[in-house]
């Protein structure tokens, strides 16, 4: 595997813009306000639409910018740094299914709208909590041109504001995706869920009895596209979150005094903080390497797979560790809801268990690195 990081001019510009945008639009008070109110910030969303962010990974013929998902990484990383509450992540992930799918009618129907601000979301997860999409059990049953659905999806992000919903189902013994208007779903089938990260708007979706047209089917050349996109963007968001967790720790270690000394002078706190710094430096290096590899969108690229598993494994372990230490190093204050440390730990744990934790990804890495080339 190469060690060369391909960092583009576009990524560099987007990083600058996104850093300052997210900082000014998502100070921690705003995040807390949004947690309490669950109110979609339409103005902020419109600002992102105007920056062109929703169309970055959409081909030009559908009114997008025609860049890759690697160019979205600096944006999501910046959002993660500021714990930004936004449907951007969910919508960008769902968009990838349409972009890489084979359904030209749906592309023409939805992609230009997404560029202009229509929100999309993915409904994949089920009660069992498996990460492998091939283990999905929600069923589609063909009745002529109609497909009748059964089963329930969980942890569907931003379903309240989404216009487009992409759902994975088992149809003819194969996992496939369908793309529908959110309006087709009766409101009583959508229920808000409680998740550990309160910045997420998470919903369950009862599919039982829904009938959809078979023209809503989207076939992917490889289902891996979904996982790969999610691993890249989640790792980016986590990398940003990890950076802010570190900064939160450093601020406190430099202000809080105990036994007449700043607590940052104690090696018991200093050394683990350095460990967190080194984990961040490592993760960010893996992240931008992987972002640079994502360009051609070839999901069968073995190096890309290794790089993605490494990203998510490192992100999961180090962000959760940093969040955990962030609580502990804040002492009694860290135990309160008022302390921001809990926001980071909650974010870290939510992200750790989406699309595979570190143990899962290391298991997959072992297969790729130790078995096949033997």
């Amino acid at each position: 595997m190469s060690n060369q990081i391909n960092f583009t001019e576009e990524q560099s510009m987007l990083l600058d813009t996104a850093m300052s945008f997210c900082q000014s639009h998502s100070p921690i008070e705003t995040v807390r306000h949004q947690i309490e109110n669950h109110k979609f910030d339409a103005e902020q969303w419109q600002a992102m639409v105007e920056l062109g962010w929703l169309g970055i990974s959409i081909p030009e013929k559908y009114a997008g910018l025609g860049l890759g998902l690697g160019e979205v990484v600096p944006i999501v990383e910046s959002m993660g740094r500021n714990l930004m509450v936004s449907p951007f992540l969910a919508s960008t992930l769902a968009t990838q299914v349409l972009v890489h799918g084979d359904n030209e009618n749906l592309k023409n129907k939805y992609l230009p709208n997404i560029v202009n601000g229509s929100i999309a979301t993915l409904a994949i997860q089920e009660l069992e909590g498996a990460w492998d999409i091939n283990l999905n059990e929600a069923l589609g049953k063909r009745e002529g041109e109609l497909i009748t659905l059964s089963g329930t999806k969980f942890q569907v992000l931003d379903l309240d504001v989404a216009e487009i919903v992409i759902i994975s189902i088992l149809l003819d013994k194969q996992v496939v995706l369908i793309c529908i208007d959110q309006k087709e779903i009766p409101p009583e089938n959508i229920k808000r869920e409680i998740v550990i990260d309160e910045t997420r708007n998470s919903f369950s979706l009862d599919l039982n009895g829904l009938k959809i047209q078979s023209s809503a089917l989207v076939k992917l050349k490889d289902l891996k596209v979904i996982e790969q996109s999610a691993l890249l963007l989640l790792s980016a968001e986590m990398c940003g979150g990890l950076a802010s967790t570190l900064n939160t720790i450093i601020d406190y270690l430099n202000t809080r005094k105990q036994f007449d000394r700043l607590i940052g002078s104690y090696q018991a706190l200093k050394h683990p903080t350095v460990d967190i710094l080194l984990a961040l430096e490592a993760l960010r290096s893996h992240l931008y390497y992987t972002a640079g590899q994502f360009g051609d969108g070839d999901s069968s690229d073995g190096d890309l797979e290794v790089a993605l598993h490494m990203c998510k494994a490192l992100a999961s372990e180090s962000f959760a560790y940093a969040g955990d230490r962030c609580i502990q190093f804040h002492g009694g204050f860290g135990f309160t809801y008022e302390c921001d440390a809990q926001l980071f730990l909650r974010r870290a744990i939510w992200s750790q268990y989406q699309f595979g934790d570190e143990k899962y990804h290391r298991q997959l890495l072992a297969k790729l690195l130790l078995d096949e080339c033997a």
Binding site: Q4, Y288, A366, L369, L370, A374
Partner: protein, 400 residues
């Protein structure tokens, strides 16, 4: 002066071929990993002969001036040799201090007479060099060197001791940092730098036995040893600046080294290879999920180190703490090597308990490597000190 791609490619084939044909067969004893572990005469003779052979074939000091024994060619040729030597895993060339630190220093700052006298012997390994910087009471605090050198006519009289003087038992010369004056208010101003001969009455070398059981490190005692006054480099009182110039060569921050390979390289691929061929309790170790998990973590950490260097070369991605990657290099590299070698022992079942000798797996090199790995987690500032430095200088935390 730029070399044509064709010439370089042709040279690449030439050296590759030469190394394959001339790489010495593995001796019946275990070779040391670096010049710091050369502890027996047979190890030393083997490595010195190898260096001579490489030099005589024209592949060492290729970019050093011809009039002093170099080959006067473009640096790119030597770089190709260095890479190919690492690639083919040939033994290292042992005159490390001469080739990489003293030699470039002499070429940069020495007199014409110095260059005539020393350079060729460094290249052909006739003259082994050692370094006399650290002292028993002043490990990392070089400015506090206490070893005295007092001018007496045509000589300096040296009294004191130096520690960790690797290769001192074989050395003909030492780069020596000593105090020529105690009167200066500034401790650095009293230091001078010498290209001191070793075979002089009053210089006594005592090998230090290491935790591995090997020798290689030494302590060198000076008991009113008389060395010629003209072996001083620069003037009295300039020792600190010469020592700092030496350290830039030692740390690889300045080019000009003679080249060659200076240590037996050990990387994560060696560990993967070992794992593929190892059994634990009757089973291939790669069937064991815990072993697999640990190995994957080592592979990831190795890759992290490579990618960090790569990212630090991209200004827009250096982030808010641009010094973090460079300043943590020794900590990350040495700790990873310690973990890798420790892990390698765990792959051997009950044979993990063996040590250097014929019945040990790979002659016991993994056990020995693990022990030797502490030299880097301790030397040059321990890992714990490194974490203090990173915490204070990179993160801005208060001093401990």
């Amino acid at each position: 002066m730029s070399e044509s791609k064709k010439d370089l490619e042709e040279f690449q084939r030439e050296i590759s071929h030469w190394l394959k044909a001339n790489k010495p067969a593995d001796p019946e004893f275990l070779l040391p990993e670096t010049f710091m572990e050369v502890g027996t005469d047979r190890q030393f003779d083997f490595l010195r002969n190898w260096q001579q052979k490489v030099y005589e074939a024209g592949y060492l000091g290729m970019a050093w001036p011809e009039e002093y024994g170099g080959r006067g060619r473009h640096q790119e040729y030597q770089n190709i040799v260095n890479r190919e030597m690492a690639e083919q895993r040939v033994p290292f060339v042992p005159n490390t201090i001469g080739l990489n630190w003293a030699g470039p220093l002499i070429l940069q700052r020495g007199t014409e007479a110095d260059k005539q006298k020393y350079i060729k012997g460094i290249l052909n390994a006739e003259d082994i060099w050692c370094q006399g910087f650290s002292e028993p009471d002043h490990g990392s605090d070089l400015g506090n060197v206490q070893c005295k050198a007092l001018k007496d006519g045509d000589s300096y009289i040296v009294t004191g001791s130096k520690i960790w003087t690797s290769l001192a038992t074989y050395a003909k010369y030492m780069i020596l940092l000593a105090r020529t004056s105690n009167t200066d208010s500034n401790k650095y101003a009293g230091l001078s730098f010498f290209l001191s001969p070793m075979k002089v009455a009053g210089i006594d070398v005592q090998p230090i036995k290491k935790l591995t059981g090997e020798y290689g490190f030494c302590q060198t005692f000076f008991n009113e040893a008389k060395i010629p006054a003209d072996c001083i480099m620069g003037n009295e009182g300039e020792g600190w600046s010469v020592a700092m110039a030496t350290l830039t060569f030692e740390r690889g921050a300045a080019g000009g080294q003679a080249g060659g390979l200076s240590m037996m390289d050990l990387n994560v691929n060696d560990i993967v290879e070992l794992a593929k061929h190892s059994r634990r309790n009757g089973q291939p170790v790669l069937d064991d999920p815990l072993i697999r998990d640990e190995l994957v973590q080592l592979i990831m950490d190795d890759r992290s180190n490579r990618l960090m260097s790569s990212r630090s070369r991209i200004p827009a991605l250096r982030g808010e703490r641009p010094a973090a990657v460079a300043m943590s290099g020794k900590l990350r590299g040495s700790e990873l090597k310690r973990r890798m070698t420790k892990f390698a022992i765990s792959l051997q079942g009950a044979n993990g308990s063996r040590y250097v000798g014929s019945s040990a797996i790979d002659g016991g090199r993994w056990q020995r490597s693990y022990f030797n790995s502490f030299s880097a987690t301790i030397g040059g500032g321990t890992s714990q000190v490194q974490k203090n430095i990173l915490g204070e200088r990179v993160l801005g935390l208060p001093k401990s």
